[in-house]
């Protein structure tokens, strides 16, 4: 059952359209990640889902009821959700009091509050900071308090906005640990916004890619990750090799795609003559100095055009008659003594190639 559903949701700020035609169905109990670059409209969409703002157009349904306009309905529905902001704001009081706020506003009894708050502080691993002034906490600790605060009211839906955007790697993993724990323990629906693709992959059951105010693709992490529906999504999820071609041959589940004269083999259902893209993730391509006689069905000789350092990896552009972008570890590059101009062989399995109908 869809706990939140939107119909043609749109939003405007100062005449500028920031969100349009959003149709989402968030299923009860799922973890849905909303990913997209900064400024795509993730926060706006989350705020609309949390009923914090009125949409410029479209409708929002919560638990099957239209809650778009009625103030009373919105307040009721909002009470069943919790929102954790990107830079959460804590009140000038102890951690305990911060977390207890929501319950106190609901006029819960003392003992009940104490039990719930202590429980939730345990879940977010902040029990020993119980009496500290919340304003003195670090970024990661503040986030955890915010999560705790959001959980005390036992919401049906937890909305998280860029939870780890401003944190160091240690804090990020701590928080993801906490999140995983929450997701595992409680029957809670989670909608999280993030620009970190891999975080979405790690935690979510479904991903929605949003760019420029529009939802471009919704699907399982795997689908989105390997079968992007269009170029923008493809680029965002890191599928850097988008090769235009035509299916030339087909034989029991295996096709050969003609890309600029070269034949790329892939596992696919497309028929001969269909115009397709061959999508290959850069990390699935291996570079060798001599022709690698391996199981890889695709092997192409080429020349290294460009090399660039990306974190601990090297991004190499190889010209094989068609451009290929490859990601190798620094180590491999050093071992093979790769330099621009060098002749190499790029190989990848047929299973690494995804095919998708041409969108142009």
């Amino acid at each position: 059952m869809a706990v939140i559903e939107t119909f043609n949701l749109g939003q405007e700020y100062g005449g500028r359209c920031v969100l349009r035609d959003v149709n989402l169905k968030i299923q009860r109990g799922e973890v849905f990640a909303l990913i997209g670059p900064t400024g795509a409209g993730k926060t706006t969409l989350l705020r609309l889902l949390d009923l914090l703002e009125m949409p410029a157009s479209g409708k929002v349904y919560f638990g099957g009821i239209d809650v778009t306009s009625s103030r009373h309905e919105r307040l009721e529905a909002r009470r069943r959700m919790s929102f954790v902001q990107q830079k959460p704001v804590v009140f000038t009081m102890s951690v305990y009091d911060n977390v207890a706020c929501g319950l106190r506003w609901r006029k819960e009894k003392h003992e009940v509050i104490r039990q719930k708050v202590d429980d939730v502080l345990e879940i977010v691993a902040m029990s020993d900071c119980r009496d500290r002034n919340a304003k003195t906490l670090s970024g990661g600790e503040t986030q955890r308090v915010a999560i705790a605060r959001a959980l005390t009211t036992q919401p049906e839906v937890l909305l998280l906005d860029e939870l780890t955007a401003n944190l160091d790697p240690v804090s990020i993993s701590k928080i993801e640990e906490v999140l995983a724990h929450i997701i595992g323990e409680q029957k809670i629906t989670v909608v999280m916004a993030t620009h970190d693709m891999s975080q979405g992959q790690r935690l979510a059951g479904r991903i929605g890619v949003i760019m420029d105010g529009e939802i471009l693709q919704v699907g399982s992490p795997n689908e989105v990750f390997t079968l992007p529906k269009n170029r923008e999504v493809a680029e965002f999820v890191g599928v850097e090799n988008i090769l235009a071609g035509v299916v030339a041959e087909k034989e029991s589940g295996l096709v050969t795609i003609d890309v600029n004269g070269s034949g790329i083999e892939a596992i696919s259902d497309y028929e001969v003559g269909e115009r397709v893209y061959a999508l290959i993730r850069p990390e699935e391509i291996t570079l060798t100095l001599s022709k690698d006689i391996s199981s890889a069905r695709n092997a192409f000789p080429g020349k290294i055009v460009k090399m660039a350092l990306v974190g601990q990896l090297i991004r190499i552009e190889v010209d094989c008659g068609f451009p290929l972008l490859v990601l190798v570890t620094k180590r491999s590059a050093e071992e093979l003594n790769l330099t621009p101009g060098k002749l190499v062989h790029a190989s990848f399995k047929a299973s690494a190639v995804r095919t998708i109908k041409r969108w142009h």
């Binding site: 830079k87 706020c101 605060r149």
Partner: protein, 228 residues
């Protein structure tokens, strides 16, 4: 310089000996100002919150007007209140002219814009995220307003103390509507005015020094609070 020194000496004498008349007018000054400020604060906190959190046409204009009234000339307010409450005036039936009660009313009018305006300012200074967070946690609008006020609590107290300082040190209003009656409506400021015009500079200086000491205590308290 000699005069100033004499004044200081006299001030010390009056304070140390707890001169009854000085004690009386000091107490009256403090009482009248404290009363008027309490009334203004009790009204301004909810009213200021209401104005800040509501949206209505002309809101900016209203806040502008309030801020303009910050430094209402005390004699102008004094004249207005006198004309209103004089036995010949519209509210003359109440028969409170030349009593401390009408002085309190006058000070309330004088100080209300200041404290109200400052409270609205302090609320504006609180990150909007506070009330939004509260609302997203299920707070009603009233509860969200209360927690915003709590976040601004030191600034609010500062505003009240500033209003108190203004009320305490004004003389035009107190003189006009109180009549500076010995033993009944005489305050530190009206006494200073009288003694100066009568030529008892020494006494006037002494009273002035006492008033300054009180102002000093107020300002020190203000500073401590602002440092929090």
């Amino acid at each position: 310089m000699d005069e100033l020194w004499q004044g200081l000496v006299k001030a010390a004498q009056l304070i140390v000996s707890f001169d009854p008349e000085v004690v009386e007018i000091t107490r009256r000054s403090l009482a009248i100002s404290a009363t008027s400020c309490s009334i203004v604060t009790l009204i301004s906190i909810p009213l200021g919150s209401l104005i800040h959190f509501s949206r209505f046409p002309g809101k900016r204009g209203l806040v502008s007007v309030i801020q303009t009234l910050f430094s209402l000339p005390t004699v102008a307010v004094g004249l207005l209140v006198f004309v209103l409450f004089s036995r010949a005036g519209p509210l003359g039936e109440l028969d409170i002219i030349f009593t401390p009660a009408v002085m309190v009313i006058g000070q309330v009018i004088l100080v209300m814009p200041l404290i109200l305006g400052l409270i609205i300012s302090t609320l504006r200074g609180v990150d909007k995220a506070i009330s939004e967070t509260a609302i997203s946690l299920g707070a009603s609008r009233l509860q969200a307003a209360v927690i915003t006020l709590k976040e601004a609590r030191y600034a609010v107290v500062t505003a009240v103390i500033m209003g108190f300082g203004r009320a305490l040190s004004e003389v035009g209003l107190a003189l006009m509507v109180g009549g500076n009656i010995k033993g009944f409506t005489r305050t530190l400021t009206t006494a200073i005015s009288l003694e100066t015009s009568k030529g008892d500079i020494e006494l006037a200086l002494a009273l002035g020094i006492i008033l300054l000491l009180i102002a000093l205590v107020i300002n020190i308290t203000l500073n401590r609070l602002q440092q929090r």
